[in-house]
Symmetry: C2
Subunit: 422 residues, 2 copies
Amino acid sequence: MNSELHHVVVVGAGFGGLELVRALGKAPVRVTLIDQRNHHLFQPLLYQVATTSLATSEIAWPIRHLVRHEKAVTTLLATVTGVDKANKCVVLDDGDTIAYDTLVLATGARHSYFGRDEWEQFAPGLKTLEDATTIRRHVLRAFEQAERETDAEARNALLTFVIIGGGPTGVELAGTIAELAHATLRADFRNIDTRDTKVVLVEAGDRILAAFRPDLSAYAKRALERLGVTVELGHAVSSCNADGVVFGGRHLAARNIIWAAGVAASPAAQWLGAEADRAGRAIVEDDLTVAGHPDIFVIGDTAQVKRADGRPVPGIAPAAKQAGRHVAATLKARLAGNDAKRPFVYKHQGDLATIGKRAAVIDFGRISFTGWPAWWLWGIAHIFFLIGLRNRLAVAMNWLWIYATGQRSARLITQGRQPSSP
Amino acid sequence: MNSELHHVVVVGAGFGGLELVRALGKAPVRVTLIDQRNHHLFQPLLYQVATTSLATSEIAWPIRHLVRHEKAVTTLLATVTGVDKANKCVVLDDGDTIAYDTLVLATGARHSYFGRDEWEQFAPGLKTLEDATTIRRHVLRAFEQAERETDAEARNALLTFVIIGGGPTGVELAGTIAELAHATLRADFRNIDTRDTKVVLVEAGDRILAAFRPDLSAYAKRALERLGVTVELGHAVSSCNADGVVFGGRHLAARNIIWAAGVAASPAAQWLGAEADRAGRAIVEDDLTVAGHPDIFVIGDTAQVKRADGRPVPGIAPAAKQAGRHVAATLKARLAGNDAKRPFVYKHQGDLATIGKRAAVIDFGRISFTGWPAWWLWGIAHIFFLIGLRNRLAVAMNWLWIYATGQRSARLITQGRQPSSP
């Protein structure tokens, strides 16, 4: 590798970081791509791992394999703990430093409990593969425990699932858990009827899918209710514990709570000492650089960017990808001697969410779809965005299988408490 | 469920327990099937999860789903800690007891370190899905660390893999890791050449695959060597630690050690206070019952059974299945009023092992196969024995993909140390 070349260090190989690296293509730079995980994760389908529809390896790929043909890119599995702006280097957890000419932070976000971190043990969130297998284990174990439970009240609590947060993740989890209980698992138990399962979606706002048009929110609510989900609007959760949740002044006994409500940015803003919004996102200039540091970009869920009309750019995959491409174009222009500031213009392509295996809502602004045409469009779009022919085939086969048989293939309780014998 | 019916309690839903439950079919009994895991595991392909070829959910299925059509069967996820022969019940870890009329223990085996349990932390074994993802994590992380390591000696130790034990599991692991290093990962690294990886298979006996004919052992050794594996025969390992292994008086620096050498039975014999062999297996009568207890059967890897010629029945899936069918037939005969002792006669169908993705050895006694015809026969046989059309399709697709492209789909480092930052 020619060490005379301009060195771009990218931290985070999510949608933004990966798109940036690919868009740099044959630009005369060398790139170091750092991530604390060895895999890029297709987060929009993570809820399907949590609900036994897909295997972990169907939505995650080794980062270094994805960029194996970009000979200018070195991939490092390492954890960044800080940025030394004065010496222009990032600091790793083992004390090593990596010097940069240009730094791009694309480190994403994690769920936030709005200062109530003690809720996490009772209401796990969903951001990583481990989060997904943890939720899968909790969900499946609840039915197993209910099968052995003789006390009716305790059994009802085991068969009550509360999902907190009515965004796409909460809606998708609620719909899929309802289908799992009411269809997939029905024939497998002897002492319980899994159709007695209660699935409750709690949303503090006055409608679910708040990013969508109000009529689509109303449709999604009806579609969830048809699947047997109870939708509770206008209630913030005031307490979570091992026995259940409190919302709207009443206590609901539930042994299964999933958190899909809040998001907090990674500490990129702290590393930089940059101004941040309440969710911890670095507030960046309109060209995605940090004020006073044209050599440092922050993109994706860990940055706060405004659209022309003042609304924030949403924390979704297409926005991160557009930002990655924008930074690549800016760097290429700079290398060609053009240092003019290039503002990022976000193009919103639409919002999508599925409700179970036969309905979805798609909001393209003027045009919208609901019902099974939306479900098929959603499925085809997601298969298109998956990486690699093999994964597209595998996921398509899984979905068609679930569609035709109602059976899900990844009903595994793994990790967690290890059986002690033998 | 009619509680007047004869109650058969089966502990363990491996090959033996599951085959027994299925073979009971419509017999006038009620059955309780207890396992500490929620899934039946196809152990012969576990090494393919450890070496990134298959996903966990492709070789494991929820037990209760597999027996959903057997309405007489209740499945329990529970851990058995003992047997109360006087009161005819099994004891669970939460203190609950389950009464039986007939008890079948099919609790399998785990790896054994021959009294050197402190080796386990350095040389993990392979019996459960968690074992497989642990080994997968270690193997993949070694290459990641080598990519960052600047000291040549430390890098060589990271790129040295020692597999202890030359049975089918050891041979299959060694062959697949060699392929992973020399082909799959080759294009993905910048600072190391993964073809420098050393894979060493250490076997204490004078040949690998000792259960096979000597000429097939010799073929397997040559096939491994063609893949770049060093086979060390006649050396027992005398020490394992974080730096490497000692065998034949010399120390080999290696940061990756996998244990495929010894097996210890589950504590079924201890639960029963029954006579056991050195590996902890209960020594049973020729009808698979425990001496003095015609109502208690022990089958599979946790029992020691002799063949007519005095050799032990091997610890392989077909033997466990045959024993399961034999116990089912005995129970049916007894229910029909025939209490005559029915000795178990094991029929050995053959031995199979693969070496990488193009060679295998199959020993049917008089007939044997090697090379690619054996590999295809092995593959077709294993797909046939997988459960469910969906898994057969998925595994077949995976194998054809690996065969055609050399790429493996499950290269995920998961669990283990959790990244601390969001």
